[in-house]
């Protein structure tokens, strides 16, 4: 299996990668249903959702791509020692663009995009939710940048998830409570 797939998660062309790596990137969330992918032979870029079995999302009307490489790579992966056809490395083959892959829960590695830090939502919830719960979100946003810039992707990703959580808490608690109070004020007039 050669590395002949390109993907463009960020309007920026990345790859080539093998079909196995492509499937891993889709499992890791780097490739989303609407991420554009391309391989030689396709007339144009297609959304990942148009490729049979690549992402769990309904396809849109139009061209579908049924690629045997993808289907093969989708088979449950055996342990590395008895790895069958999933992602073989042939002698003398060097992966054209090695994708650092550290587990199914991360999609990040050197050279890839940094984890989102949700800074906009942290600031907005600090200013507008009337509720100082946005401040932990700012702290975790800053941690995302610190860790990512120090080269620590796993911890940057953890901080990213915490930043997201605190933004949800801040908006999810602050807004409904505020709306309830407004409704109560209006009702009591």
């Amino acid at each position: 299996m050669s590395a002949n797939w390109f993907y463009a998660p960020d309007s920026q062309q990345l790859g080539p990668v093998s079909a196995g790596q492509l499937v891993q990137l889709a499992a890791a969330g780097t490739i989303q249903p609407d991420t554009l992918i391309w391989k030689e032979g396709l007339a144009n870029w297609v959304k990942a959702r148009q490729v049979l079995g690549l992402v769990d999302a309904p396809a849109e009307a139009g061209e579908m791509v049924d690629d045997p490489e993808i289907t093969r790579a989708r088979q449950p992966q055996a342990p590395a020692s008895v790895q069958p056809s999933a992602n073989p490395t042939w002698p003398g083959q060097t992966p054209a663009a090695p994708i650092p892959y550290s587990g199914p829960q991360t999609g990040y590695g050197p050279g890839s995009a940094p984890p989102p830090n949700y800074l906009v939502w942290a600031i907005l919830s600090t200013i507008f939710c009337c509720w100082p719960l946005g401040i932990p979100a700012i702290v975790f946003a800053a941690q995302v940048n610190s860790k990512f810039q120090a080269g620590n992707y796993a911890e940057a990703l953890q901080a990213s998830q915490k930043a997201k959580l605190w933004c949800w808490i801040s908006f999810g608690v602050g807004l409904p409570v505020t709306i309830l109070i407004v409704l109560a004020q209006v009702a009591m007039r």
Binding site: S11, N145, I181
Partner: protein, 151 residues
């Protein structure tokens, strides 16, 4: 064999129709809120506009206190008065507007989260955190230099 693939065609730019619909709804809601806020002054007693939860519960000002009044003033073009209600909001608004515009654009285009805020120097974000904390403490202190920061 080294993978010597031909160059892919240029990446087409696409719009996500469902996301644009959601953005349209958000724009209508924001527009309605802006019209209401333009017509109603939150500092008038009996205003239906909400009071800060922290201030209601504890009497303390939070870093966001005064933001409704500040926005009301901004909608009337009164920057100075807005900064008097919430300096943090007036100072942060231009940067927030740029980041929010980028986020909206990328959402409409179906792109992943904006990587730019994560690439800002970490020092800036720690500085922002420090500024928020100093602002929070200072606006609760009594006396002339600090009381001007209160909403």
């Amino acid at each position: 064999m080294t993978a010597r693939s031909p160059n892919p065609p240029p990446i087409p730019r696409t719009w996500c129709r469902r996301r644009i619909g959601l953005l349209g709804l958000a724009a209508v809601a924001l527009g309605a809120a802006a019209v209401y806020l333009h017509r109603h002054d939150p500092s008038v007693p009996g205003s239906a506009l909400p009071e800060c939860l922290l201030h209601r519960a504890t009497g303390l000002y939070c870093p966001g206190c005064g933001s409704t009044r500040a926005l009301h003033e901004l909608l009337h073009g009164q920057w100075r008065s807005a900064a008097g209600h919430n300096l943090l909001l007036a100072a942060a608004l231009p940067a927030v507007a740029i980041l929010l515009a980028r986020t909206t654009w990328r959402y409409a285009r179906g792109l992943p989260a904006d990587p730019a805020p994560s690439r800002l120097p970490a020092r800036w974000l720690w500085g922002l955190f420090a500024a928020v904390m100093v602002f929070w403490i200072a606006r609760n202190l009594p006396g002339p230099p600090f009381s001007s920061l209160a909403p």
